[in-house]
Symmetry: C2
Subunit: 282 residues, 2 copies
């Protein structure tokens, strides 16, 4: 039981953290920090937050746990002020979907003052991004990656891991660089590909959108996601994404070559190999 | 009310046609034609089919409506025998997902004997392909494209259109070439992209499959589809697909260039334009 949980950025993920902590009775007091009191007020009125503030230091001070849930670039900018207000006792984590930049920034801060930080990435969410879609069960069954650095204290890793587990998540621990490469492949590349696919239809045959069936809708659903959030993700994880894009180009080129050369045997064998791999993903 | 409906190929689509016609009371007798009596027998035992046969001519003869529901290459091969058995009165359609090859083959047949054929493409289905997943409501709310040629008689178009509409489908009429270009964009390219995306993860970071969340699963769901069916689709619609792949390459290259050059403004504007287009698809 936490005395005080502070969520900075009360959108889909931050709002879901607050709702889930409330639903599980994990915190006596839940504080929400945001830029706009009027937008935060709904979460106070519905009982998810006990107190709201636009003052980051005021919201963070005295909390047992702080969850930074703004965009990746915002989290990086907030770390120094959060560390200053939090002191060494308050445990701090974040929900940013790329970790190397945030973890490096946190390590820089920790060289100047005590900072009990470990990065997290809950692999949950959707094409929605606002508090209106926040859900108490968003993390139930989801994977959360926790990314300790060499200098992270074990007690910090344990307390953040326990928090996510008490929201129903499955924990995976890896370092920030390995995390960023893995999510480039399994999360950022799919988003980029979904966007490119929508754009390809617009370039090739826009009228075909009128024939969209379930296949197209599922394959491109995430392309409706928030452009600002995804711009930040793509730039924050640039190097790993460029590597994943090389792999995509090679995969497309192989299939194209088999179609172009009417090589039915090679095409069937590639499609069969891929279908087996896809079916292995639950 | 048809006296006799014959479905050739009782898999997901053919089985669903038979089940839907049965559920709507559209045919007094429903006959199933397949290569393997043992595999057809389930559909007879569950009451979907009245009679089953492996003899194409026997199954087709005397039907009011024949629906060819095998793979595209099989349909093309069957047309001459079907026309010979059907005569000029029996109306024939198919469910193949590419139409130029089938419509051209049907036109060749029709120059030698009477053949009341028009192509159809129900934009329904899933990554499944067998009778076990056939459903009486598969076509409810689905789009069915009907592709008359210059020489197709209006009565044939009308009777096939009325059949699909009575199964709950929304009808779109276009010529076979326009259809093939549209489905290259909205159906075949998404399938190819989903396959390439799975393959890219296997090439770049196979361990990342363990972190797959909803975004990856939705984006790649169709990559689990039947390799033989999709091999045939890709080869049958080769030229339009190669054109759509050029558009994909251009779309990927634009996004890659913006990420590589750290051009946040251009990247955000591209993602915003794409998100708006995606949200316009219901």
């Amino acid at each position: 039981m936490l005395q005080r949980l502070t969520v900075v950025g009360v959108g889909l993920l931050g709002g879901s953290v607050a709702k889930a902590a409330r639903a599980e009775g994990l915190a006596r007091e839940v504080i929400g920090v945001g830029r706009d009191l009027a937008r935060l007020d709904g979460a106070r009125q519905d009982g998810t937050l006990d107190r709201i503030t636009t003052d980051l230091a005021d919201g963070v001070r005295g909390a047992d746990l702080v969850v930074l849930a703004g965009p990746v670039a915002t989290i990086e900018r907030q770390l120094d002020a959060v560390a200053a207000a939090a002191g060494g006792e308050t445990v701090v984590t974040d929900v940013g979907s790329t970790k190397a930049g945030i973890v490096a920034a946190a390590a820089r801060v920790a060289r100047t003052r005590p900072f009990a930080f470990v990065g997290s990435h809950p692999m949950a969410g959707s094409e929605k991004s606002g508090y209106a879609d926040a859900r108490a069960d968003l993390f139930r069954g989801a994977t959360v990656v926790v990314t300790p650095a060499e200098t992270t204290e074990v007690r910090v890793v344990k307390s953040v891991s326990a928090f996510w587990e008490s929201l129903g998540a499955r924990l995976v621990t890896m370092d920030a660089a390995a995390h960023d490469r893995a999510v480039a492949a399994i999360s950022h590349l799919p988003h980029l590909v979904a966007c490119a696919l929508v754009d390809a239809v617009l370039r090739f045959e826009p009228a075909a959108l009128g024939l969209a069936a379930r296949g197209f809708r599922d394959t491109t659903r995430i392309a409706a996601g928030d452009p600002v959030m995804w711009r930040d993700v793509f730039l924050a994880n640039r190097d790993a994404i460029l590597g994943a894009l090389d792999a995509l180009d090679a995969a497309v080129a192989e299939l194209r070559g088999e179609i172009e050369g009417r090589d039915g045997a090679a095409l069937e064998s590639a499609l069969a190999r891929i279908a087996v791999a896809r079916r292995s993903v639950s």
